[in-house]
Symmetry: C2
Subunit: 178 residues, 2 copies
């Protein structure tokens, strides 16, 4: 049975409000020591699968600077420190898409256990158009409604490629029996 | 239609062989400038869904220091710079589990387009036991065979929680019609 590593000491190699890098010194169960295991610290985030009464899924298209390209994803956003994930999901959905509705937690994923302690909270809900998007000056988001039956073919054709969107979408499609 | 951002300048806020943090100064299409957009640079990785002739899936259990806990995942590993992802998948599967077989690419996911340009290459294949694990001194990996029909119930019961394992497993289950 694999055992936990022992934390010997910890310091920050880099800190910012959005992302920090922690350098841990650790002792493994076999006695081996590592003095530079890097752990990324960032906000948890929410991912939403919003379905309209017409069985259309509300996707967003935007430029993402990590990838350096525009891509289509399910709506998402960071959870502020101390914020309830459901409140974050409702806020992000309304701001990014103009849609709103009652959301329920469909799953909680560990984003990258090798490097981070970050969680992704997955929400599902029936939504309706509630008014214009509320974007800040760094956001340029195009809403794209995708018929529910087209989501899996778009994953198969590699038109949907982001891992967090694929994991969320496949979880909900499976639950819906699609 | 969302437009790309313009890269003004780029420097490293932190560098190591395993993970680096790049600080980009960028100009948005609306003219707004940001001088500290952080991008994580790390290796691409492979994730494998290995299925035995008895329809058992080869999972691994190990301690992950980002999460600070032991968890069950599909076998995975980093792609070395310049390495063919298929070769990385075959190597990691053999080393971590002792199983081997002919693997085929089942998908390529963008891991986190907000922060990274990293790819995850997903492989599927029929495998057989080929001999003992070949672990290095930082690895303590327990192989766990899971009947194919139990994979989805384990996701539903939140016994399988890692996003990269869930996205890979749900993709393959869907393709297999399970």
């Amino acid at each position: 049975m694999p055992e936990k590593w022992q934390l010997l000491s910890s310091k920050y190699a880099f800190q910012s409000p959005w992302i920090s890098l922690r350098q841990d010194a650790v002792r493994l169960p076999n006695g081996h020591e590592l003095d530079d295991y890097y752990v990324v610290e960032e906000h948890d985030f929410v991912k939403i699968f919003p379905l309209t009464e017409d069985d259309e899924v509300v996707f967003v298209r935007q430029y993402k600077h990590g990838l350096s390209d525009v891509l289509i994803e399910l709506p998402a956003g960071f959870v502020e420190y101390g914020e309830d994930p459901l409140a974050a999901a409702e806020r992000e959905l309304r701001e990014e898409t103009g849609y709103a509705g009652r959301l329920e937690l469909a799953g909680t994923f560990i984003v990258d256990p090798t490097r981070k302690n970050t969680r992704e909270y997955v929400y599902f809900g029936r939504v309706a158009y509630a008014g214009e998007q509320q974007l800040d000056h760094t956001e340029d988001i195009e809403v794209q409604l995708v018929p529910l039956r087209d989501v899996w073919p778009m994953i198969e054709r590699r038109q949907i490629t982001a891992m967090s969107t694929i994991s969320c979408a496949l979880l909900i499609l499976k639950r819906l029996g699609i």
